[in-house]
Amino acid sequence: MTSLTIAKNISGPRWCRPLGMFLLAILISGCASDLQTKVSGNLNSLSKDQTVAILPIETSHAGQKEMADMFRQGLYANLKQSHFNLMEKYIVDSLLKQNNLINPANFLTINPMQFGEILGADAIVFSRINKVARSYFIIHSSIELSVSVQMVDTRTGEILWRAEQTEHDFSGIGKIPTGIFTALFAPIQFVTNKFNLRKMTSKMLDKLTALIKKPENAETNTKFENLVIAKKATTDLKKIAELQQLKAEWTQALALDEETKSAVLQGETPQETRKETLALKNDLLPPTPLAGGGIQNKVRSMVHKVLAVETEMAPLATVPEPKEQKVATPTPLNALKATLATPIHIENHGKPPREIVKPEKNIKNVPIGSAAFYTVQVGAYKTKAYAQNLLSKLVKKGYNAFVTRNNKKIYRVQVDKFKNKEDALKLAQLIQKKEKLKNFITRATAG
């Protein structure tokens, strides 16, 4: 029933009607409340088997701590009447403290899934006291409270409930004091007595939690139209998806790389290898002039990407790193080591002659003959310094090592030159055994 119809129903002398309307207008405006609340349809699926944790309340001002405590207690008592199981406050606080999560202002920057693992909760409630304002001016005083609340499913990052509420009440002439004393003292009492703040908080919580206590009563305008995922969860879910995609591609690329390497070791010509590789995996890799190198680069770039994404997703520094990540992260060591033995000269035929790195002072200069030869390649680097470093180590150990550079500007560390492949293979095995360096045999021509 609207205020107008109520006013019309008031019977009595003519002057009663305006008075009635006046009173009703005051009643409505006197204790103004602005509530915006929405729930997700999935809220109904929470049962007593699911646990919800109410996190400590964030405040916008240091002086709001008492209000925050009062609000959290009231929110807890109200949500105790809902369909789900509430996690006890001291357990929540204790677990957060154990994980050094003591500042509620940071909670929204943490992925809800992480809270799921820290608290063992299926959903968490973030709340913020936006405003607690008390004002007094002789015969008028007012209190304004503003809060925002959000419940997020830790398993999916979905926002199950979101509400914002502002409650405003005053004391003064507008409420028609019953006497001169009350006109003077009621405004003072209104802002100084904590009881009024408590009463307002209680009233606010009643309205705020009405929908979540009975989500089945939600109407179209109080339901989310679409699935709403918390911002932090969206970011991290995207990262997880990206990570999974990268890992899938990485696995494929690694498998392809293994095939390429074994083909080279079996003595197939680089051209044959490339053809076969492309024929087999044409759908996986774009035809590149450097199939082997392309795969390697792809693997390497994926390793970097995977590591980068995993680093971004790493738990907070304050939280002990979950052991799972160690298990879950595919060990990139093999892939990285494999770069030492990358066949990167496959597409050399008909191309400009490879560039020979100018010997450094401490590097033994290896003359390159004009005829084709077999050599053992132990490393390939984009950075010259790394190639030189490996070269100097090998030279010091007495290997006849040298560095060459191809037209892709890759510095390759190779050892010795052989006329026949068997001799090269023996040296390759020796290097593998003694130096633990992965390598392969490659055929090269000087000049």
């Binding site: 005051i26 699926s45 207690q73 606080d93 063992g120 409420k175 004091p177 004393f181 009621a186 799972e324």
Partner: protein, 319 residues
């Protein structure tokens, strides 16, 4: 002459402030000597059915309402409180349904029936709700105590009357009208009055939360593994296998996002739990992570997400 001018103002001032102060009274909770050490406080507590000294005033049962409200607020403190339903079930199973008789039971018997360290006993001495003329009033007077079943001692007790009032002494006309309207809903009026009573009271009850904080440890899950792979699309009759390793002797289950919850895991060897879920034709799951859960007897749960693959249903398989 001067006095006669001041007194007419002074008297109503004093009366007004007296009324104001009466509205925000604190609950006087008496904590018995020797029971202030939080380490000695009971851990588990059951709230016994409250009694009403007077006959039910109206269709509402203020004592039951007061008990529910008490439980909602008391749970916030660091006690392990038995849900009211569980308490009632246990008492009922022991053949105890009369609230007054329950209060007369010995601590030993109560401990045997309920298996808790302490009980809360509540007696609602009077409860009233009245709306008439410009006067509206709801009051609850109750006596509550906590009985330590381990020793038979009363740890604390209180007797308090809480009243919400609006009438001639209200400061404004609007307050009077609002008070009248609020008081008409009897159930709501009792609940509000009980809330004010309890918010004041909870501040006085010793809270053992700090004593337990060091002991809180969730069940540990070392790893979780599934047969889900990146980009794998699930078809009907595909089976998701989940295994997790963690603390032994617990209840294990897993969730597929929030879409499918509490799928049981079986402990095949101590600390190793396995389970599976077969995709049905009607299932339509998209991008859901698998979450493994271990639950201890005290209700604490440990969770771990499997992040190397998501459950995704192949929508083309149903077409």
């Amino acid at each position: 002459m001067g006095h006669s001018r001041i007194f007419p103002f002074l008297t109503p001032c004093i009366a007004y402030f007296g009324i104001l102060l009466a509205g925000c009274g604190t609950v006087d909770l008496e904590i018995r000597r020797g029971h202030t050490n939080s380490n000695m406080l009971p851990r588990s507590v059951a709230i016994l059915p409250f009694t009403l000294e007077e006959p039910d005033p109206e269709e509402v049962s203020p004592h039951e309402l007061f008990r529910t409200c008490f439980y909602n607020y008391f749970s916030y403190l660091g006690y392990v409180d038995l849900p009211l339903k569980t308490v009632d079930q246990k008492l009922s199973q022991a053949g105890l349904t009369d609230s007054n008789k329950i209060l007369q039971l010995s601590p030993e018997k109560l401990r045997k029936i309920l298996g808790v360290d302490a009980v809360i006993r509540g007696r609602v001495l009077s409860a009233s709700n009245f709306t008439g003329g410009i006067h509206a009033e709801t009051s609850i007077k109750a006596k509550i105590d906590m009985l330590d079943l381990r020793t038979g001692d009363i740890l604390w007790e209180t007797e308090h009357k809480e009243m919400t009032y609006s009438g001639i002494l209200s400061p404004t006309i609007v307050d009077i009208v609002q008070g009248q309207l609020a008081n008409v809903n009897v159930h709501q009026a009792y609940f509000k009055t009980a809330e004010i009573f309890l918010v004041n009271m909870m501040k006085e009850i010793p809270d053992p939360a700090n004593s337990w904080k060091g002991e809180i440890r969730l069940p540990e899950i070392t790893y979780i593994e599934t047969n889900l792979k990146p980009n794998l699309k699930l078809k009907p009759n595909d089976r998701i296998y989940v295994s997790l390793k963690g603390d032994p002797g617990l209840t294990g289950y897993f969730d597929i996002g929030s879409w499918k919850s509490n799928i049981p895991l079986k402990e095949i060897v101590p600390g190793l739990y396995t389970g599976s879920y077969t995709i049905k034709t009607s299932d339509k799951v998209t991008n859901s992570l698998i979450i493994g859960t271990l639950k201890s007897k005290n209700g604490l749960t440990g969770k771990k997400f499997y992040k190397n693959g998501m459950a995704q249903f192949d929508s083309s398989s149903t077409n």
